[in-house]
Subunit: 234 residues, 2 copies
DNA sequence: TCTACGGACGAACACTGTTCGTGTCAACTG
DNA sequence: CAGTTGACACGAACAGTGTTCGTCCGTAGA
């Protein structure tokens, strides 16, 4: 019966061959196509939706096909943050504008991460010796050295700043996108403010008094504040 | 035959009742027991091993039993970081030592997170209005206000510092504990240094030149450096 | 004593990452 | 040109995940 079903399939194949368009000639899977598909998926549905199966399905195949081009999901994650890192443009270091240049590069990275919600989680786990992230480190190092910062403080400041960028964007993504209209979790600013004011004054005197300050900060004010804090401390 | 097997079980139960020790009298599951078990699991095997099934198994039951006491795995995570937050002791604010006090509290939190490898991932996702984390915010706010810092910069600095603590501990855990003796990933410091030196000088001049500084920092030197950076900037 | 109710839990669902073995098509080789 | 080889595609499966449903049972209240 194996024979029979086999010839039946051949028969179907022959019929399919009669169609004017041969079945799309399925172009081969490449690492680039995988990365592009994955990024589109993260952009549309967030990092939690990035699944080997979903990527494979979007490419019209099964999950096993991806493992010929990518060792791991972790390696795919690394490739994604590498691609994102390649999108930030590094300025020619200018001694007089080193602070602004530093903040600008970090801001570019922040925007890249925010555009693909949740992907910063992969950035925190990314291999420390990734070539594309090292390119950014090199650029930031050039900026700080040009600004007259000593090498070791410069290196450590870069480390701290990049860590902060990742944490900031992870948190921003988790706050925004946890799930559609869940009852808890998606508490907006006014709600948080109201809850802070409800705290017992005996145990949380300063929190209650300055609840508005704890929740203030439009856009990326807090982000810029934190980076300026680090740079002014140098 | 349902009858038959049923009576067989009853028979077995009667036999079991003959034992001097009644079957351990299975003490009830409580939120506290769940949290304690979960923390022990994370301490021993890392946050990735924290599974509803493993917690349930450690309690001698199935995963469904946990959902009577805990809404989500996310809620369990929140409970864990709440418990950890409750372990840091807040000093009485002292105007002359506000910087040292601030760094000390952050260091306590860091040590708590490092003691339960990977748990900081949950801290980044934790609810912003958790009572136990708010207690730490309140304590830090008291310290900074006592030090003469204005409320809004104080609030934003606390936000940045706590974010940094989480990011620092997440990264430290991921670097250390990814998997037992995997071939890649667990690249030690000397290996990273060697790889940095192999970079093409044309594209990575500063990275190659200062490779040693990029990798320096014993213990928590970088951690203290980053926090001092923020505090000096105030 | 009977009833209600909340906790415990077995089984299942819909997922996840990953591997194994087989198939198939292309490009080298004789 | 015929034949072999090797890389890639992929169906099926495995072990594991969070979560839910329906049923059981022991204890507290009427």
């Amino acid at each position: 019966m194996k024979r029979k079903s086999s010839s039946r399939e051949e028969w179907a194949a022959q019929i399919a061959a009669l169609e004017d368009v041969p079945p799309a000639r399925k172009e081969p899977i490449t690492v680039d196509r995988i990365v592009t598909t994955a990024l589109a998926l993260v952009e549309a549905e967030g990092f939690a939706a990035l699944t080997m199966r979903r990527v494979a399905a979007a490419l019209g195949t099964g999950p096993a096909s991806l493992y010929a081009h990518v060792r791991n999901k972790a390696e795919l994650d690394d490739l994604l943050i590498g691609t994102l890192s390649r999108n930030v443009s590094l300025p020619a270091p200018h001694a007089g504008r080193w602070r602004a240049q530093f903040v600008d590069v970090c801001g570019q990275l922040r925007d890249q991460f925010l555009h693909y919600p949740g992907i910063a989680q992969a950035a925190l786990a990314a291999a420390p010796a990734n070539l594309d992230t090292l390119r950014i480190t090199e650029g930031l190092l050039a900026i700080l050295l040009k600004g007259g910062v000593e090498p070791e403080p410069a290196a450590w400041t870069i480390d701290a700043a990049l860590l902060y960028v990742s944490a900031y964007t992870v948190e921003a993504s988790l706050r925004r996108h946890p799930d559609r209209d869940e009852d808890s979790r998606v508490v907006d600013r006014d709600e948080i403010l109201a809850r802070l004011r409800m705290l017992p004054i005996s145990r949380f005197p300063h929190t209650v008094e300055h609840a508005d300050k704890l929740n203030s900060g439009e856009g990326h004010e807090r982000f810029e504040f934190a980076l300026q804090l680090m740079l002014k401390g140098l």
